[in-house]
Protein backbone atom coordinates (compact mmCIF):
# COMPACT_ATOMS: atom_id res chain seq x y z
CA UNK A 1 0.00 0.00 0.00
CA UNK A 2 1.43 3.37 -1.02
CA UNK A 3 1.74 5.99 1.65
CA UNK A 4 0.09 9.15 0.38
CA UNK A 5 2.69 11.92 0.14
CA UNK A 6 0.24 14.73 0.88
CA UNK A 7 -0.66 13.32 4.30
CA UNK A 8 2.96 12.51 5.13
CA UNK A 9 3.93 16.04 4.22
CA UNK A 10 1.15 17.48 6.40
CA UNK A 11 2.20 15.53 9.46
CA UNK A 12 5.86 16.39 8.92
CA UNK A 13 5.02 20.08 8.57
CA UNK A 14 3.13 19.83 11.86
CA UNK A 15 6.05 18.15 13.58
CA UNK A 16 8.57 20.67 12.27
CA UNK A 17 6.34 23.53 13.38
CA UNK A 18 6.04 22.04 16.87
CA UNK A 19 9.79 21.62 17.10
CA UNK A 20 10.09 25.20 15.90
CA UNK A 21 7.82 26.28 18.73
CA UNK A 22 10.04 24.51 21.25
CA UNK A 23 13.16 26.19 19.86
CA UNK A 24 11.44 29.55 19.67
CA UNK A 25 10.37 29.26 23.32
CA UNK A 26 13.90 28.52 24.45
CA UNK A 27 15.19 31.46 22.37
CA UNK A 28 12.77 33.82 24.08
CA UNK A 29 9.64 33.71 21.95
CA UNK A 30 7.93 36.07 19.48
CA UNK A 31 4.16 36.40 19.46
CA UNK A 32 3.52 36.43 15.68
CA UNK A 33 5.90 33.58 14.99
CA UNK A 34 4.46 31.59 17.86
CA UNK A 35 0.96 32.02 16.50
CA UNK A 36 2.00 31.07 12.98
CA UNK A 37 3.98 28.03 14.11
CA UNK A 38 1.16 26.85 16.38
CA UNK A 39 -1.18 27.36 13.43
CA UNK A 40 0.97 25.14 11.24
CA UNK A 41 1.42 22.55 14.00
CA UNK A 42 -2.33 22.20 14.53
CA UNK A 43 -3.24 22.78 10.89
CA UNK A 44 -0.81 20.15 9.60
CA UNK A 45 -2.39 17.58 11.88
CA UNK A 46 -5.88 18.64 10.90
CA UNK A 47 -5.21 18.76 7.17
CA UNK A 48 -3.50 15.37 7.19
CA UNK A 49 -6.43 13.81 9.04
CA UNK A 50 -8.89 15.49 6.67
CA UNK A 51 -7.19 14.24 3.51
CA UNK A 52 -6.82 10.81 5.07
CA UNK A 53 -10.50 10.61 5.90
CA UNK A 54 -11.86 12.03 2.65
CA UNK A 55 -9.58 10.37 0.11
CA UNK A 56 -8.04 7.28 1.62
CA UNK A 57 -10.69 5.58 3.71
CA UNK A 58 -12.93 3.24 1.77
CA UNK A 59 -15.75 2.66 4.18
CA UNK A 60 -19.06 1.94 2.47
CA UNK A 61 -22.14 3.88 3.43
CA UNK A 62 -24.53 2.05 5.75
CA UNK A 63 -28.10 2.54 6.89
CA UNK A 64 -29.18 2.78 10.51
CA UNK A 65 -32.86 2.58 11.34
CA UNK A 66 -34.37 5.43 13.27
CA UNK A 67 -37.13 5.13 15.85
CA UNK A 68 -39.49 7.99 16.36
CA UNK A 69 -39.30 9.34 19.91
CA UNK A 70 -42.88 8.34 20.57
CA UNK A 71 -42.26 4.71 19.65
CA UNK A 72 -40.99 2.00 22.00
CA UNK A 73 -37.31 1.11 22.10
CA UNK A 74 -36.38 -1.63 19.63
CA UNK A 75 -34.96 -4.75 21.15
CA UNK A 76 -32.51 -5.38 18.30
CA UNK A 77 -29.22 -6.83 19.43
CA UNK A 78 -25.98 -6.08 17.62
CA UNK A 79 -22.95 -8.25 17.61
CA UNK A 80 -20.55 -6.10 19.63
CA UNK A 81 -17.58 -8.39 19.16
CA UNK A 82 -17.41 -7.97 15.37
CA UNK A 83 -14.58 -5.67 14.23
CA UNK A 84 -15.55 -2.13 13.38
CA UNK A 85 -15.61 -1.41 9.64
CA UNK A 86 -12.43 0.15 8.34
CA UNK A 87 -10.23 -1.16 11.16
CA UNK A 88 -8.34 -3.47 8.87
CA UNK A 89 -7.60 -0.75 6.38
CA UNK A 90 -6.58 1.61 9.17
CA UNK A 91 -4.18 -0.85 10.81
CA UNK A 92 -2.29 -1.26 7.53
CA UNK A 93 -1.37 2.43 7.41
CA UNK A 94 1.64 1.88 9.65
CA UNK A 95 3.74 4.79 8.38
CA UNK A 96 0.91 7.29 8.60
CA UNK A 97 -0.06 6.13 12.08
CA UNK A 98 3.51 6.58 13.30
CA UNK A 99 3.71 10.00 11.73
CA UNK A 100 0.41 10.91 13.34
CA UNK A 101 1.68 9.81 16.76
CA UNK A 102 4.94 11.70 16.19
CA UNK A 103 3.18 14.90 15.19
CA UNK A 104 0.78 14.60 18.13
CA UNK A 105 3.58 13.97 20.59
CA UNK A 106 5.69 16.87 19.37
CA UNK A 107 2.70 19.17 19.55
CA UNK A 108 2.00 18.01 23.12
CA UNK A 109 5.62 18.79 24.01
CA UNK A 110 5.43 22.22 22.40
CA UNK A 111 2.22 22.96 24.28
CA UNK A 112 3.62 21.76 27.62
CA UNK A 113 6.85 23.69 27.55
CA UNK A 114 5.32 27.10 28.39
CA UNK A 115 4.95 25.62 31.90
CA UNK A 116 8.47 26.95 32.34
CA UNK A 117 6.99 30.44 32.15
CA UNK A 118 5.49 29.84 35.59
CA UNK A 119 8.60 30.77 37.49
CA UNK A 120 12.14 32.00 36.96
CA UNK A 121 15.18 29.76 36.89
CA UNK A 122 16.29 29.76 40.52
CA UNK A 123 19.87 30.50 39.47
CA UNK A 124 21.82 31.63 42.51
CA UNK A 125 18.79 33.22 44.24
CA UNK A 126 18.92 30.53 46.89
CA UNK A 127 22.52 31.44 47.70
CA UNK A 128 21.99 35.19 48.15
CA UNK A 129 20.35 36.75 51.18
CA UNK A 130 20.36 40.47 50.46
CA UNK A 131 23.00 41.42 53.05
CA UNK A 132 26.06 43.32 51.85
CA UNK A 133 29.18 44.21 53.79
CA UNK A 134 28.59 47.51 55.56
CA UNK A 135 24.80 47.26 55.76
CA UNK A 136 23.49 48.62 59.04
CA UNK A 137 21.19 46.40 61.08
CA UNK A 138 17.79 48.04 61.51
CA UNK A 139 14.82 46.82 63.53
CA UNK A 140 11.24 46.42 62.26
CA UNK A 141 10.67 50.15 62.62
CA UNK A 142 13.73 50.83 60.48
CA UNK A 143 15.87 52.23 63.31
CA UNK A 144 19.57 51.30 63.32
CA UNK A 145 20.59 49.29 66.36
CA UNK A 146 23.45 49.84 68.79
CA UNK A 147 24.65 47.03 71.08
CA UNK A 148 23.35 48.96 74.08
CA UNK A 149 19.80 48.89 72.64
CA UNK A 150 19.67 45.14 73.21
CA UNK A 151 19.64 44.01 76.84
CA UNK A 152 21.76 40.97 77.63
CA UNK A 153 19.46 37.96 77.06
CA UNK A 154 17.43 40.18 74.78
CA UNK A 155 16.34 39.50 71.20
CA UNK A 156 15.39 41.66 68.24
CA UNK A 157 14.49 40.93 64.62
CA UNK A 158 16.66 42.96 62.25
CA UNK A 159 17.07 43.57 58.53
CA UNK A 160 19.57 45.39 56.30
CA UNK A 161 18.92 49.13 56.26
CA UNK A 162 16.33 49.93 53.57
CA UNK A 163 15.19 46.31 53.27
CA UNK A 164 12.90 45.85 56.26
CA UNK A 165 10.70 42.81 55.70
CA UNK A 166 12.97 41.17 53.12
CA UNK A 167 12.35 37.49 53.81
CA UNK A 168 15.81 36.10 53.03
CA UNK A 169 17.53 38.74 55.16
CA UNK A 170 15.53 38.25 58.39
CA UNK A 171 17.97 37.97 61.24
CA UNK A 172 17.65 37.52 64.97
CA UNK A 173 19.97 39.72 66.94
CA UNK A 174 20.71 38.28 70.36
CA UNK A 175 23.00 39.74 72.97
CA UNK A 176 24.77 37.41 75.35
CA UNK A 177 27.60 37.63 77.83
CA UNK A 178 30.73 37.69 75.63
CA UNK A 179 32.65 35.38 77.92
CA UNK A 180 30.16 32.53 77.51
CA UNK A 181 30.55 32.32 73.73
CA UNK A 182 32.24 29.38 72.04
CA UNK A 183 31.69 30.08 68.36
CA UNK A 184 33.20 27.92 65.61
CA UNK A 185 36.74 28.74 64.59
CA UNK A 186 37.13 31.82 62.43
CA UNK A 187 34.11 33.60 63.90
CA UNK A 188 35.90 35.12 66.88
CA UNK A 189 35.31 38.65 65.57
CA UNK A 190 31.71 38.09 64.46
CA UNK A 191 30.02 38.97 67.74
CA UNK A 192 31.06 42.43 68.92
CA UNK A 193 30.01 43.06 72.53
CA UNK A 194 28.26 39.69 72.58
CA UNK A 195 25.87 40.63 69.75
CA UNK A 196 25.06 37.59 67.65
CA UNK A 197 23.26 37.67 64.32
CA UNK A 198 21.64 34.46 63.06
CA UNK A 199 19.38 33.92 60.08
CA UNK A 200 15.81 33.73 61.40
CA UNK A 201 14.79 31.21 58.72
CA UNK A 202 14.78 27.70 60.13
CA UNK A 203 17.14 25.42 58.21
CA UNK A 204 14.53 22.66 58.42
CA UNK A 205 11.53 23.93 56.44
CA UNK A 206 11.82 27.67 56.78
CA UNK A 207 9.61 28.89 59.61
CA UNK A 208 10.80 31.94 61.52
CA UNK A 209 12.83 30.92 64.55
CA UNK A 210 11.49 33.53 66.92
CA UNK A 211 11.22 31.53 70.10
CA UNK A 212 14.18 32.37 72.34
CA UNK A 213 14.68 30.64 75.66
CA UNK A 214 16.96 33.20 77.14
CA UNK A 215 18.13 31.36 80.25
CA UNK A 216 19.10 28.26 78.27
CA UNK A 217 20.27 30.44 75.38
CA UNK A 218 18.51 28.31 72.84
CA UNK A 219 16.45 29.27 69.83
CA UNK A 220 13.45 27.09 69.11
CA UNK A 221 11.36 26.91 65.96
CA UNK A 222 7.62 27.04 66.76
CA UNK A 223 6.75 24.85 63.77
CA UNK A 224 8.68 21.64 64.38
CA UNK A 225 10.63 22.32 67.58
CA UNK A 226 14.11 22.32 66.08
CA UNK A 227 16.34 23.72 68.81
CA UNK A 228 19.57 25.65 68.24
CA UNK A 229 22.32 26.43 70.72
CA UNK A 230 23.00 30.14 70.47
CA UNK A 231 26.43 30.13 72.14
CA UNK A 232 28.04 27.58 69.84
CA UNK A 233 26.96 29.08 66.51
CA UNK A 234 23.30 28.02 66.49
CA UNK A 235 24.09 24.35 66.10
CA UNK A 236 21.00 22.12 66.12
CA UNK A 237 20.64 20.20 69.39
CA UNK A 238 17.15 18.78 69.01
CA UNK A 239 14.48 18.26 66.39
CA UNK A 240 14.47 17.77 62.67
CA UNK A 241 16.84 20.55 61.58
CA UNK A 242 20.16 19.21 60.35
CA UNK A 243 22.03 22.48 59.83
CA UNK A 244 23.03 25.36 62.08
CA UNK A 245 21.31 28.68 61.52
CA UNK A 246 23.71 30.64 59.28
CA UNK A 247 25.54 33.34 61.25
CA UNK A 248 25.84 36.91 60.05
CA UNK A 249 29.26 38.45 60.74
CA UNK A 250 28.76 41.68 62.69
CA UNK A 251 30.89 44.69 63.55
CA UNK A 252 30.34 48.17 64.98
CA UNK A 253 30.71 51.18 62.71
CA UNK A 254 32.20 54.56 63.53
CA UNK A 255 28.85 55.85 64.85
CA UNK A 256 28.43 52.89 67.19
CA UNK A 257 25.81 51.07 65.14
CA UNK A 258 25.89 47.39 64.32
CA UNK A 259 26.73 46.52 60.72
CA UNK A 260 27.13 43.31 58.76
CA UNK A 261 30.61 42.66 57.42
CA UNK A 262 29.51 40.24 54.72
CA UNK A 263 27.22 37.36 53.80
CA UNK A 264 26.00 34.69 56.20
CA UNK A 265 28.22 31.72 56.98
CA UNK A 266 26.05 29.53 54.70
CA UNK A 267 23.03 29.86 52.35
CA UNK A 268 19.96 30.74 54.41
CA UNK A 269 16.86 28.59 54.74
CA UNK A 270 16.08 24.92 54.13
CA UNK A 271 18.54 22.66 52.37
CA UNK A 272 18.30 21.64 48.72
CA UNK A 273 20.32 19.27 46.58
CA UNK A 274 23.17 21.60 45.65
CA UNK A 275 23.25 23.69 48.83
CA UNK A 276 26.81 22.55 49.54
CA UNK A 277 28.01 22.76 45.96
CA UNK A 278 26.98 26.25 44.99
CA UNK A 279 24.83 27.30 42.02
Amino acid sequence: MKTPASITASFIVSMVASLGLLVLYVLGGQAQLEGVLLGFALGGLGLGLAVWATSYMNVPEEVEERQLMGEPEPGAEEDDTAPLPGMEDLSRRKVLLRLLAGAGGTLAGALAIPAFSLGPNPGDDLFRSGWRAGDRLVNLEGRPVRPADIPVEGIETVFPEGKVGLSDAQTVLIRVDEGSLSLPEGREEWAPEGCLGYSKICTHVGCSVGLYRSAAQQLLCPCHQSTFDVLTGATPIFGPAARPLPQLPLAIDADGYLIATGEYSAPVGPAFWNVDRGA
Binding site: D149, V152, L211, Y212, L220, T227
Partner: protein, 256 residues
Protein backbone atom coordinates in the same frame (compact mmCIF):
# COMPACT_ATOMS: atom_id res chain seq x y z
CA UNK B 1 -26.20 52.08 62.24
CA UNK B 2 -24.39 50.20 59.52
CA UNK B 3 -23.41 46.61 59.98
CA UNK B 4 -19.76 47.60 60.07
CA UNK B 5 -20.46 49.99 62.94
CA UNK B 6 -22.43 47.37 64.80
CA UNK B 7 -19.57 44.92 64.55
CA UNK B 8 -17.19 47.61 65.71
CA UNK B 9 -19.44 48.35 68.65
CA UNK B 10 -19.61 44.69 69.62
CA UNK B 11 -15.86 44.41 69.42
CA UNK B 12 -15.42 47.49 71.51
CA UNK B 13 -17.84 46.29 74.15
CA UNK B 14 -15.77 43.17 74.49
CA UNK B 15 -12.84 45.29 75.65
CA UNK B 16 -13.40 46.87 79.02
CA UNK B 17 -10.03 48.61 79.01
CA UNK B 18 -10.58 51.20 76.33
CA UNK B 19 -8.39 54.21 75.89
CA UNK B 20 -8.66 56.60 78.77
CA UNK B 21 -8.63 53.96 81.47
CA UNK B 22 -5.66 54.32 83.69
CA UNK B 23 -4.54 51.18 85.40
CA UNK B 24 -2.14 51.84 88.20
CA UNK B 25 0.35 49.18 89.22
CA UNK B 26 -1.44 48.29 92.39
CA UNK B 27 -4.41 50.25 93.59
CA UNK B 28 -3.76 49.28 97.18
CA UNK B 29 -0.14 50.31 97.20
CA UNK B 30 -0.47 52.94 94.54
CA UNK B 31 3.15 53.17 93.42
CA UNK B 32 3.17 55.67 90.61
CA UNK B 33 6.79 56.69 90.74
CA UNK B 34 9.55 54.46 92.15
CA UNK B 35 8.36 54.00 95.68
CA UNK B 36 10.54 54.76 98.68
CA UNK B 37 10.49 51.95 101.15
CA UNK B 38 10.98 52.58 104.84
CA UNK B 39 13.93 51.14 106.68
CA UNK B 40 11.65 49.02 108.86
CA UNK B 41 10.06 47.47 105.76
CA UNK B 42 13.49 46.63 104.40
CA UNK B 43 14.53 45.13 107.69
CA UNK B 44 11.34 43.03 107.97
CA UNK B 45 11.84 41.95 104.37
CA UNK B 46 15.41 40.88 105.10
CA UNK B 47 14.19 38.52 107.81
CA UNK B 48 11.55 37.03 105.54
CA UNK B 49 14.14 36.71 102.78
CA UNK B 50 16.59 34.87 104.93
CA UNK B 51 13.92 32.49 106.11
CA UNK B 52 12.34 31.74 102.75
CA UNK B 53 14.67 32.73 99.90
CA UNK B 54 18.30 32.74 101.04
CA UNK B 55 18.76 28.99 100.69
CA UNK B 56 18.73 29.44 96.91
CA UNK B 57 19.48 33.12 96.33
CA UNK B 58 22.15 33.49 99.04
CA UNK B 59 22.23 35.42 102.31
CA UNK B 60 22.42 38.79 100.56
CA UNK B 61 20.85 37.84 97.24
CA UNK B 62 24.23 37.03 95.69
CA UNK B 63 22.88 33.79 94.26
CA UNK B 64 23.64 30.11 94.78
CA UNK B 65 21.31 27.40 93.59
CA UNK B 66 19.21 30.22 92.25
CA UNK B 67 20.29 33.32 90.34
CA UNK B 68 21.93 36.46 91.75
CA UNK B 69 19.01 38.81 92.35
CA UNK B 70 20.84 41.90 93.59
CA UNK B 71 19.92 43.79 90.40
CA UNK B 72 16.48 42.18 90.00
CA UNK B 73 14.68 45.13 91.50
CA UNK B 74 11.18 45.68 92.83
CA UNK B 75 9.68 44.79 89.44
CA UNK B 76 11.07 41.24 89.45
CA UNK B 77 10.27 40.74 93.14
CA UNK B 78 6.69 41.94 92.65
CA UNK B 79 6.25 39.75 89.60
CA UNK B 80 7.69 36.62 91.17
CA UNK B 81 6.08 36.85 94.60
CA UNK B 82 2.59 38.17 93.83
CA UNK B 83 2.05 35.51 91.16
CA UNK B 84 3.20 32.84 93.61
CA UNK B 85 6.11 31.84 91.35
CA UNK B 86 8.52 32.39 94.24
CA UNK B 87 9.31 30.76 96.56
CA UNK B 88 9.93 27.68 94.48
CA UNK B 89 10.12 24.25 96.08
CA UNK B 90 12.22 22.58 93.39
CA UNK B 91 14.94 24.86 91.98
CA UNK B 92 15.03 22.86 88.73
CA UNK B 93 11.32 23.16 88.01
CA UNK B 94 9.83 26.03 86.06
CA UNK B 95 8.18 28.60 88.31
CA UNK B 96 4.47 28.70 87.55
CA UNK B 97 1.59 30.85 88.70
CA UNK B 98 0.08 29.75 92.02
CA UNK B 99 -1.39 31.27 95.18
CA UNK B 100 1.11 33.70 96.72
CA UNK B 101 2.86 32.34 99.81
CA UNK B 102 2.96 35.70 101.66
CA UNK B 103 0.46 38.28 102.84
CA UNK B 104 0.28 41.66 101.10
CA UNK B 105 2.28 43.27 103.91
CA UNK B 106 4.94 40.60 103.77
CA UNK B 107 5.14 40.94 100.01
CA UNK B 108 5.71 44.67 100.35
CA UNK B 109 8.47 43.99 102.86
CA UNK B 110 10.17 41.44 100.63
CA UNK B 111 9.95 43.81 97.66
CA UNK B 112 11.44 46.56 99.79
CA UNK B 113 14.36 44.32 100.73
CA UNK B 114 15.07 43.11 97.17
CA UNK B 115 14.82 46.68 95.87
CA UNK B 116 17.36 47.79 98.50
CA UNK B 117 19.98 45.31 97.24
CA UNK B 118 20.83 47.19 94.04
CA UNK B 119 19.54 49.43 91.30
CA UNK B 120 17.04 47.06 89.69
CA UNK B 121 13.90 48.26 87.93
CA UNK B 122 11.00 49.65 89.98
CA UNK B 123 7.43 48.42 89.71
CA UNK B 124 6.21 49.98 86.46
CA UNK B 125 3.13 52.08 85.91
CA UNK B 126 0.72 50.95 83.24
CA UNK B 127 -1.15 53.74 81.51
CA UNK B 128 -3.36 52.78 78.61
CA UNK B 129 -4.50 56.29 77.73
CA UNK B 130 -3.54 57.20 74.20
CA UNK B 131 -2.72 53.64 73.23
CA UNK B 132 -3.90 52.15 69.97
CA UNK B 133 -5.21 48.59 69.80
CA UNK B 134 -3.73 48.05 66.35
CA UNK B 135 -0.20 49.11 67.34
CA UNK B 136 -0.24 46.73 70.27
CA UNK B 137 -1.61 43.87 68.15
CA UNK B 138 1.14 44.27 65.57
CA UNK B 139 3.92 44.26 68.19
CA UNK B 140 2.30 41.41 70.12
CA UNK B 141 2.04 39.18 67.07
CA UNK B 142 5.63 39.89 66.03
CA UNK B 143 7.26 39.47 69.45
CA UNK B 144 4.98 37.60 71.85
CA UNK B 145 2.97 35.16 69.72
CA UNK B 146 5.94 32.87 68.89
CA UNK B 147 5.86 31.70 72.54
CA UNK B 148 2.56 32.79 74.11
CA UNK B 149 0.48 32.09 71.01
CA UNK B 150 -1.62 34.41 68.87
CA UNK B 151 -4.42 34.38 71.45
CA UNK B 152 -2.09 34.61 74.49
CA UNK B 153 -3.24 31.16 75.60
CA UNK B 154 0.31 30.03 76.18
CA UNK B 155 2.53 27.54 74.41
CA UNK B 156 5.20 24.90 74.78
CA UNK B 157 8.73 26.20 74.52
CA UNK B 158 10.67 22.96 74.75
CA UNK B 159 12.57 21.12 77.47
CA UNK B 160 9.43 21.05 79.58
CA UNK B 161 9.25 24.80 79.85
CA UNK B 162 6.17 26.65 78.78
CA UNK B 163 5.16 30.16 78.02
CA UNK B 164 2.17 30.68 80.32
CA UNK B 165 -1.25 31.86 79.30
CA UNK B 166 -1.55 35.63 79.75
CA UNK B 167 -5.27 35.49 80.42
CA UNK B 168 -5.00 35.60 84.25
CA UNK B 169 -2.23 38.23 84.23
CA UNK B 170 -2.90 41.73 85.56
CA UNK B 171 -1.51 44.53 83.37
CA UNK B 172 1.33 45.33 85.79
CA UNK B 173 2.43 41.68 85.81
CA UNK B 174 2.61 41.68 82.01
CA UNK B 175 4.66 44.88 82.15
CA UNK B 176 7.03 43.42 84.73
CA UNK B 177 7.55 40.29 82.67
CA UNK B 178 8.56 42.44 79.70
CA UNK B 179 10.99 44.43 81.85
CA UNK B 180 12.59 41.59 83.76
CA UNK B 181 12.40 38.62 81.39
CA UNK B 182 11.58 36.01 84.01
CA UNK B 183 12.71 32.42 83.52
CA UNK B 184 13.31 31.58 79.89
CA UNK B 185 11.62 34.74 78.66
CA UNK B 186 13.97 37.09 76.81
CA UNK B 187 14.34 40.66 77.89
CA UNK B 188 12.75 42.72 75.15
CA UNK B 189 13.95 46.12 76.23
CA UNK B 190 10.66 47.77 75.25
CA UNK B 191 10.14 51.35 76.38
CA UNK B 192 7.14 52.19 78.59
CA UNK B 193 5.00 53.37 75.64
CA UNK B 194 5.55 50.14 73.71
CA UNK B 195 4.75 48.09 76.80
CA UNK B 196 1.47 49.96 77.24
CA UNK B 197 0.51 49.31 73.60
CA UNK B 198 1.12 45.59 74.04
CA UNK B 199 -0.82 45.47 77.31
CA UNK B 200 -3.76 47.15 75.60
CA UNK B 201 -3.92 44.26 73.15
CA UNK B 202 -3.42 41.64 75.88
CA UNK B 203 -6.43 43.18 77.67
CA UNK B 204 -8.38 42.85 74.41
CA UNK B 205 -7.43 39.16 74.12
CA UNK B 206 -8.26 38.56 77.79
CA UNK B 207 -11.86 39.49 77.03
CA UNK B 208 -11.92 36.55 74.56
CA UNK B 209 -13.68 38.34 71.74
CA UNK B 210 -14.71 35.34 69.71
CA UNK B 211 -17.15 36.50 67.05
CA UNK B 212 -17.14 33.02 65.52
CA UNK B 213 -18.48 31.19 68.56
CA UNK B 214 -16.76 28.94 71.11
CA UNK B 215 -13.02 29.25 70.66
CA UNK B 216 -12.13 25.62 71.48
CA UNK B 217 -9.17 26.76 73.53
CA UNK B 218 -7.94 29.26 70.98
CA UNK B 219 -4.92 27.16 70.06
CA UNK B 220 -5.51 26.58 66.39
CA UNK B 221 -6.10 23.57 64.18
CA UNK B 222 -5.40 20.79 66.71
CA UNK B 223 -8.60 21.22 68.75
CA UNK B 224 -10.40 22.23 65.55
CA UNK B 225 -9.44 18.95 63.93
CA UNK B 226 -10.40 17.05 67.05
CA UNK B 227 -13.82 18.75 67.13
CA UNK B 228 -14.30 18.13 63.42
CA UNK B 229 -13.60 14.43 63.78
CA UNK B 230 -15.29 13.83 67.13
CA UNK B 231 -18.30 16.12 66.90
CA UNK B 232 -18.77 16.52 63.14
CA UNK B 233 -17.86 13.07 61.87
CA UNK B 234 -19.20 11.51 65.05
CA UNK B 235 -22.62 13.09 64.57
CA UNK B 236 -22.73 12.05 60.94
CA UNK B 237 -21.92 8.44 61.78
CA UNK B 238 -24.75 8.47 64.35
CA UNK B 239 -27.06 9.89 61.70
CA UNK B 240 -25.94 7.17 59.28
CA UNK B 241 -26.65 4.54 61.94
CA UNK B 242 -30.12 6.01 62.39
CA UNK B 243 -30.94 6.27 58.69
CA UNK B 244 -29.26 3.00 57.72
CA UNK B 245 -31.58 0.99 59.97
CA UNK B 246 -32.31 -2.51 59.00
CA UNK B 247 -28.75 -3.31 59.75
CA UNK B 248 -29.29 -7.00 60.35
CA UNK B 249 -26.47 -8.06 58.12
CA UNK B 250 -24.28 -9.86 60.56
CA UNK B 251 -24.11 -13.45 59.67
CA UNK B 252 -27.38 -15.15 60.20
CA UNK B 253 -29.10 -11.80 60.48
CA UNK B 254 -32.50 -11.24 59.00
CA UNK B 255 -33.45 -8.33 56.79
CA UNK B 256 -35.84 -6.21 58.79
Amino acid sequence: MTRARRVAAVLLLAVPATAGTKIVASAARGQDTPRRYTQSEVEAGRKLFQAGCASCHGEDGEGGLGPDIREAGAAAAHFQITTGRMPLADPDAQAVRKEPAYSDTQIDQLIAYVASLGNGPAIPTVDLSGTNLSTGAEIFIANCSPCHGATANGGATGRGSLAPSLHPSEPVIVAEAMITGPGQMPNFGFDAATRNEIIRYVRFLQARPNPGGADLGGIGPVPEGFAGLAIGMGALVLIALFIGKGRAHARGGVES
